[in-house]
Symmetry: C2
Subunit: 334 residues, 2 copies
């Protein structure tokens, strides 16, 4: 059918439709077509209909390179993972899927960069994650819009889980299920998210007039495991370990089991993240689940908003976490 239309008009068909093809088919100028796409309010409805139909008929898709050229843009977003590859958490993949999904809508493409290749090639904006304090200097000097994944107190727009609410919720759950002693196993880091997770635990502890106990380790499962084993005599039944990550929770779980402790009957373990690791554990870890893909989409949308609308500060976004029930906290108060 399309071929026929073209033949009737005596036009030549390019392999891939351009503005011109649409324009000819609709008997208007290129500009009208362009306007229908970019400023639809400035075109009469009659013409708009014609143009839409023509676009559909030739399966028109804008050429992003041409657009980028004339707009002096790149249509590229860099996703910068500053953390070491070795420690790369699996959830980055989900985060990327979310970002990519948001960018697709506007035909932006996502470029994955690390510290090494950060500078190669141009882009229109950045999503940055895995930042440490020392990074905020040079990030602040970037000339393109930036959205940070992960809360920070340096004034950068960010997207994150409500970390404090997460540990509060899950600590509350532990108390409701009858655990009498809550021990926090945190990450030995000075980053915002860690402080927030501790704060959630502390708030619950205070509201219940319990005693806070906080221990911190690098985020490796064998360290929490070792801690449990070495101090096993100190931990009576009805103790629940509130861990700041699933990795630490995994170690805690293993430590308790190797000491012969019963999970969840006598001992509870909770994690934080809810991506992959909690599912690999046995029993599955009861954890604070983050909506990583949604957060990724939010990062992408927020960044596009800044780019397209030339917005400088767009504010930050906190996602409310949910509890993912596993088998490391008992079902009801015993």
């Amino acid at each position: 059918m399309i071929m026929n239309t073209y033949e009737l008009l005596g036009e030549e068909r390019s392999l891939i439709a351009t503005l011109n093809d649409v324009a000819k088919l609709a008997n208007v100028s290129k500009m009208t077509v362009s306007r229908v796409i970019n400023h639809p309010d400035k075109v009469t409805n009659d013409l708009k209909q014609l143009v839409y139909q023509a676009m559909h008929e030739v399966d028109y898709h804008p050429n992003m390179a041409a657009k980028a050229l004339v707009n002096n843009s790149t249509q590229i977003i860099k996703f910068c993972v500053l953390e070491d590859i070795d420690t790369t958490e699996p959830y980055y993949m989900n985060l990327m899927i979310g970002i990519a999904r948001a960018l697709d809508a506007q035909q932006y493409s996502l470029q994955l960069v690390t510290r090494q290749n950060f500078d190669i090639g141009n882009c229109d904006g950045y999503v940055v994650t895995g930042m440490r304090k020392k990074d905020f200097d040079w990030i602040g000097n970037l000339k393109k819009p930036v959205v940070i994944f992960g809360e920070n107190r340096f004034g950068f727009d960010y997207v994150d889980t409500n970390n404090k609410a997460g540990t509060f919720m899950i600590s509350e759950l532990a108390v409701k299920r009858g655990y009498k002693r809550l021990i926090f196993i945190g990450m030995d880091s000075h980053e915002s998210f860690e402080y927030s997770r501790e704060a959630g635990y502390l708030q619950l502890i205070q509201e219940n007039q319990m005693v806070s106990e906080i221990h911190r380790f690098d985020n490796h499962s064998h360290l929490s495991q070792q801690f449990i084993i070495e101090n096993w005599d100190d931990f009576g039944p009805d103790t629940c370990f509130i861990c700041a990550s699933d990795r630490l929770a995994l170690g805690a779980e293993r430590g308790i089991e190797s000491c012969g402790g019963l999970i969840p009957v006598d001992y509870g373990v909770t994690g934080f993240d809810g991506v992959f690791l909690n599912q690999v554990a046995f029993p599955r870890i009861t954890t604070v689940k983050q909506s990583i893909v949604e957060m990724g989409m939010a990062c992408g949308e927020k960044l596009l908003n800044k780019i397209v609308n030339h917005i400088d500060k767009d504010g930050s976004l906190m996602f409310e976490p949910k509890i993912s029930m596993g088998g490391t906290v008992r079902d009801s108060s015993k």
Copy 2:
């Protein structure tokens, strides 16, 4: 300095240097500069020197959008993960980092797509992974160059680990370390890589005139764990479980430990992958380690080669795996 040069010449400086800027500075035409970049053999050495110097002086970087426009290309590669997000293994992240690194060299950018958004937007080529048999139909119909990550027997160029060599090596290690019975725990899938991993085990078994024992499960740790527990009575000391993935190995390890078996003294466990999961296990899993980042780079390079040089078939690439020593196979024959 740059400013001065410009002022002397009485030129206006655009914010970002173009071919024109370089040309004027070097007192040549745009075309000469372009040729220096794309066909350096067609320019005299004298001019080349001049141009290089000028490029350096104004910090010239080619505008990829303009390039893409005139070359009718997109400078975009789609990385297509067909596997379910839920099962997404952490190693995809490393793979992406490798691909991205290769693409950066040629200023291509990587777009992450899934089944859902596969069709949105244009691209110059694809890297595809997580394919199942049924996918080969439509992949074959793509009009752009494709490189598959993961071996296949459908004639597509691929990059993969030498799976057979991997399980052969690690089975051999188990025998050398004195385990008398080798049980293969495979994945219940009909994909090439699984067959290859079984084949490596079988070859070692035959060469040593041992008896092969193969069990298959979906790739979940609790299934291998369950299998070990339910059949524990059947497994005497000096048994080593050769697993087709780290996930299955993790389950096997847990199963053995929960039955009171001693690892690695009496029981051995080996995995396959060497990304993340093996390190989370305790003791760390002795596994077949794949060079994921390198393989990613190879995917990228191979694809670019096909695109730039219009090569249809470029052959496949097998990476030789290495054994990563953990604590689940004993150090020497007991």
